[in-house]
């Protein structure tokens, strides 16, 4: 097939399938929103049992605000892709080689981000399929880490990560694909958005009751005002910002996945950058 044909295909694709893609996006977002609403409302209810149960109207409102934020999160990079690719298609002959390259790089970056976001959506539908209790299996930590880093390397060749694990193999019950998604989100944040100078560290510690994972970067750290609410609290819709920063949704997914594992998630500054830690219990709950 000639190059011209390939490009024609792409143009055709962008014009005919754009609507469909947007629809798909919204459907995905709706799944995620519905699920997170159910989970988060439930957990906030457990914490504040004395307070009134949320009414149907509250739930609908939460659902709507979630739907809006997540759709925005998918729609923004998608429209950047559409814009940048059109720019290339219509002007590539008049643009410098470096400018063309820059356009393609941006498209590549946005599509990588979208792929991870869709990974998040799939992780959530997977959680939903399993209902209240997820199915965990004993997994070897180094294998899960190894595969995650390979996936990262494929997406972003040449990224440097330092990994420190205990000498003896560590087994923890988990849903490996979900924990990989947690690691991918944390690595995405620290490798791509933290402005880290030097490689990111991943440290695994084997405790008596739990295994602790730490992802540490050497970037600009978490801004003071964000430390309190690291992930979006979807159960308090009145506090939801109009537009979410991209990493907010990723962390909310991490939190949801770890809750389902009876694990914990935390984030702090360590002086020279940010550090996110999560734990997984060693006994099956």
């Amino acid at each position: 097939m000639s190059k011209k044909n390939v490009l024609q295909n792409i143009t055709e694709f962008t014009s005919t399938k754009k609507g469909m893609r947007t629809a798909l996006c919204t459907a995905g977002a709706a799944t995620l929103a519905g699920f997170l609403t159910a989970r988060l409302v439930k957990s906030s209810r457990q914490e504040t049992e004395t307070q009134n149960e949320p009414t149907k109207a509250d739930l609908a409102r939460i659902h709507m605000s979630l739907l809006r934020t997540i759709s925005q999160n998918l729609y923004t990079p998608l429209s950047d892709i559409t814009g940048n690719s059109l720019l290339y298609l219509e002007n590539h002959k008049n643009l410098e080689e470096t400018e063309n390259l820059e356009l393609i790089k941006r498209i590549h970056e946005d599509s990588g981000w979208l792929a991870n976001m869709v990974g998040n959506l799939l992780a959530v539908t997977h959680l939903e399929d399993m209902g209240e209790s997820i199915t965990v299996k004993d997994e070897m930590v180094e294998e899960v880490l190894g595969e995650t880093l390979q996936k990262m390397e494929k997406r972003h060749p040449g990224l440097e990560v330092h990994v420190l694990i205990p000498d003896d193999p560590v087994m923890v019950p988990m849903d490996a694909l979900l924990i990989e998604q947690v690691l991918l989100n944390l690595l995405d944040n620290s490798l791509l958005h933290s402005g880290s100078e030097g490689p990111v560290d991943i440290i695994v510690e084997d405790g008596a009751k739990q295994v602790t994972f730490t992802v540490r970067d050497y970037g600009h750290g978490i801004p003071e005002e964000k430390l309190k609410d690291l992930w979006v609290d979807f159960s308090a819709p009145e506090s939801l910002p109009d537009t979410l920063e991209r990493h907010g949704v990723g962390l909310a997914i991490c939190k949801t996945i770890l809750d389902a594992h009876h694990g914990t998630l935390s984030g702090r500054n360590h002086g020279g950058g940010a550090e996110f830690g999560f734990t997984l219990p060693k006994r099956r709950p």
């Binding site: 390939v6 295909n9 990974g119 880093l149 990994v163």
Partner: protein, 231 residues
């Protein structure tokens, strides 16, 4: 003159077909494409391609059924193109006789490596005598393993595991296939013994077991060893 290697891609997404045709055409392959299972099966029968790329989510006949029918008469290597997170379908497809799989998004280097490996294994008449990649060397006839020129000592089971993976370097082997080969059909299904042995081998040949250079894990599916540079 060498005839071009002929590949058939069976995939319903038009843009993905165009991408594959463009990518592999550049690599010197002759690429044919089919948009659904029916067309794929009839093209496979008339063209007798050297390798088939098969998407599992086809609109008419399911990918598994296409694979089953193909395997009724064809031994051409089949590489599955699978969507994110379909571990169980990957295992099913491998059990049905697929040779390997790639997951979307498909990265050019990864796909061409898988294709080279599958074609090589299909052509191979005699087993390799030496495995060599980075600093690792395995001499199958002498039963010896060297890392950076120094001998590595493995237990009997570890040696069997490593050589099985090295003989199939570049291709995924499922937990089940490995276990049946080493321990026979009556091993329990938890993979625990296999994984402990793999962890031990990693400690003997990898600098960092969590950043392996030779033995890669495909969680929920099996293991894959780095391609043999000696072939």
């Amino acid at each position: 003159m060498n005839a071009k290697v002929r590949l058939l891609i069976i995939e319903d997404d038009k843009n993905f077909r165009a991408y594959i045709a463009d990518l592999l055409g550049r690599d010197g392959y002759q690429v044919f494409s089919a948009a659904d299972g029916g067309e794929g099966l009839s093209l496979a029968a008339s063209l007798c391609p050297d390798l088939i790329l098969l998407d599992l989510g086809l609109p008419d006949i399911g990918g598994f059924e296409v694979l089953r029918r193909l395997r009724g008469w064809s031994r051409a290597p089949v590489i599955i193109v699978s969507a994110h997170g379909e571990e169980q379908s990957k295992v099913t497809a491998l059990d049905l006789g697929a040779d390997d799989y790639v997951t979307k998004p498909v990265y050019p280097k990864e796909l061409t490596a898988r294709i080279r490996t599958a074609l090589r294994h299909a052509r191979k008449s005699a087993p390799e005598e030496i495995y060599r990649a980075l600093g690792l060397e395995i001499y199958f006839d002498r039963r010896s393993i060297c890392l950076e020129g120094k001998p590595v000592h493995l237990t009997q089971i570890e040696y069997q595991l490593l050589t099985l993976l090295a003989e199939n370097a570049g291709r995924v082997l499922t937990y089940d296939a490995i276990q049946r080969h080493i321990w026979g059909p009556y091993i329990d299904a938890s993979n625990q013994i296999l994984r402990v042995n793999m962890a031990n081998i990693r400690r003997k040949i990898e600098k960092n077991p969590a950043q392996p250079q030779y033995l890669f894990t495909e969680v929920g599916v099996g293991y894959r060893m780095r391609e043999n540079e000696n072939e």
